[in-house]
């Protein structure tokens, strides 16, 4: 490990923090844009953690938002229903952070359990199982009255702010990057490449597949918790299949196996989605055409079709930016 190259990513993140804070304090950046940045950062956590499962270990998962849902409901229940924390009390920050971590831990345990079917299943079959899992989680939330049932868990205090979310995203990327660059990461990569060959070079494929699901689910749970405390709501529809596909699209658009790609795509697609909403409304107002905000999904989908047609390895392919990389691979 080259110590000189270690802090590059940290410097980049600190610079990003300063720029956003300054722009926000000087009111060049309004609350709405800051909200979009926060959302993007949460998607960074979701996309990089799904990339560990799908991109690095090659286990096709369609239930990632299910893990996020577990994190959101567990942490939301803790802060809102059990501890009844208040944002105005500064002493509440620590219990809030612990609640988020608790959400991640429970999600990780669920990921550990869902990792087991992955030992026997591959490709399409695993995708269907994980899809089913995501729907089960959603249906369970929908039917527990204590957490609001179909209304969702309301009145969650707004603890998530730019600083907390940025630090969480930074730590997620660093931990996943270090994992990928470690020998554990090499083992996961060998499973993606060829599972039989991985066995024959001595990799315990069972152990590493479960490990990928557990780690991936942990970070998804963290992201879910942060999201619930940002939009002050945990709702079953947020964690359904469609939302999981949105995260999946991010890793494919960014490049399967590339953390840099996941980060860029998380920002790019979150902003694009919001931008299209505004753009289409403006277009409708200006021309009087009967088009609504839902048309953004058409543009969004078309864009994805073009990415897959003309650059199917995604934005970054499997490459990693020098800023993200820890170990220099010549």
């Amino acid at each position: 490990m080259n110590v000189r190259k270690l802090p590059r990513f940290l410097i980049a993140v600190v610079l990003f923090y300063i720029v956003v804070e300054v722009l926000y304090r000087t009111e060049i950046l309004n609350g709405y844009l800051l909200h979009i940045i926060n959302l993007s950062l949460i998607y960074v956590i979701l996309a990089t953690s799904l990339n560990l499962i799908n991109g690095i270990t090659g286990q096709f998962s369609l239930g990632h938002m299910g893990f996020a849902g577990v994190g959101a409901y567990v942490s939301g229940s803790l802060t809102t229903l059990i501890l009844k924390l208040s944002v105005t009390n500064p002493a509440s920050m620590l219990p809030f952070l612990l609640s988020i971590i608790a959400g991640g831990v429970v999600a990780a345990f669920v990921g550990f359990l869902i990792g087991f079917p992955s030992l026997r299943l591959k490709g399409d079959y695993l995708a269907i199982v994980t899809l089913g899992f995501g729907e089960i989680i959603r249906t369970i939330f929908n039917n527990i009255d204590a957490v609001g049932g179909p209304r969702g868990l309301l009145g969650i205090p707004k603890f998530s702010n730019f600083t907390v979310i940025l630090v969480a995203a930074f730590l997620t990327v660093v931990i996943i990057r270090n994992l990928i660059e470690s020998s554990h990461g090499r083992a996961m990569l060998s499973i993606r490449e060829n599972e039989l060959a991985a066995e024959l070079v001595g990799v315990n494929t069972t152990r590493y597949k479960v490990m990928a699901f557990t780690f991936g689910a942990f970070f998804a749970g963290i992201a879910g918790g942060l999201l619930a405390h940002l939009i002050q709501l945990a709702h079953p529809t947020q964690f359904g299949f469609i939302k999981s596909v949105e995260v999946l699209i991010m890793i494919y658009a960014g490049g399967v196996g590339s953390l840099t790609g996941s980060i860029l795509a998380a920002f790019g697609l979150t902003f694009l989605s919001e931008g299209l909403r505004l753009g289409i409304r403006a277009l409708a107002d200006a021309t009087g055409l009967p088009i609504g905000g839902e048309w953004r999904m058409v543009v969004y989908a078309l864009l994805l079709i073009f990415i897959m047609l003309f650059r199917n390895e995604g934005l970054m392919g499997m490459r990693e930016s020098r800023i993200i990389k820890n170990v220099e691979v010549d």
Binding site: R186, E199, L200, V203
Partner: protein
């Protein structure tokens, strides 16, 4: 070194191997010859722990390894080149070889072994920075063998190394296998190309629908009338 006794392997209700027994002495090349479906690949898979044995025993250097998991068998010193090569396609040749040394903690040892592989297969050396999936069939086979050499071990299991290769390359691969054996690695070779296999082997066993039937020194087997008619086409 390796002793397989009355091995039985089932795929569901189908008995793929009914009764297979053979021995691989230290430092030799032993070949298992047989037609499609005779159970050659299954035998190798059972030895390296990819398939469960329903009966019988596999003993390696005095240690019973029957039904041990694959990742526990590799460090004991058995490396397996699977049928159809199974390289890591989107990693470079160098990364393929480095990953093969995954269980070895000392990375200088891994590099030493990679250098050795480059000596045995000069073509691999030329291709180190290329992606595994872009190699030709013959080169992929060399990489697969090279990878098994980096993983290391006293016993090398080779499953149909000649499959799908041009005759010139088949000769080259068999040449290299003989050379690797001379350097001290024991080889268990599974082949349909009986002629080539018998040429480099010391001992041979004939596998027929799940049974070992004929066995003996390779030279004797080569001249056995039954074998000549059934497998050598003469």
């Amino acid at each position: 070194m390796l002793k397989v006794t009355n091995l039985k392997v089932n795929y569901g209700k189908i008995e793929a191997i009914k009764d297979v027994s053979f021995e691989v002495p230290d430092g030799k090349i032993v070949t298992l010859i047989g037609a499609n479906g005779a159970g050659k690949t299954t035998t190798l898979r059972a030895i390296s722990g990819l398939e469960r044995a329903a009966g019988g025993s596999i003993v390696f250097e005095g240690k019973d390894i029957t039904n041990l998991e694959a990742h526990k068998i590799v460090p004991l010193g058995i490396s397996h080149v699977p049928e159809g090569r199974k390289i890591f396609p989107t990693l470079t040749v160098k990364e393929n070889l480095e990953l093969a040394g995954w269980t070895i903690k000392d990375k200088t040892e891994v590099n030493r072994r990679i250098d050795q592989v480059c000596e045995i297969f000069p073509r691999i050396k030329e291709r180190l920075s290329q992606l595994g999936g872009t190699l030709s069939g013959g080169e992929q086979q060399m990489l697969a063998v090279g990878r098994a050499l980096v993983t290391g071990g006293k016993l090398l299991l080779l499953d149909e190394p000649s499959m799908g290769l041009a005759p010139v390359l088949v000769d080259e691969i068999f040449d290299r296998i003989a050379a690797i054996n001379k350097q001290g690695t024991t080889v268990l070779l599974v082949e349909q190309n009986a002629m080539e296999a018998l040429e480099i082997a010391d001992f041979a066993y004939i596998l027929e629908v799940g049974y070992t039937t004929i066995s003996g020194e390779a030279k004797a087997i080569e001249h056995d009338q039954r074998v000549r008619e059934a497998y050598l086409g003469v």
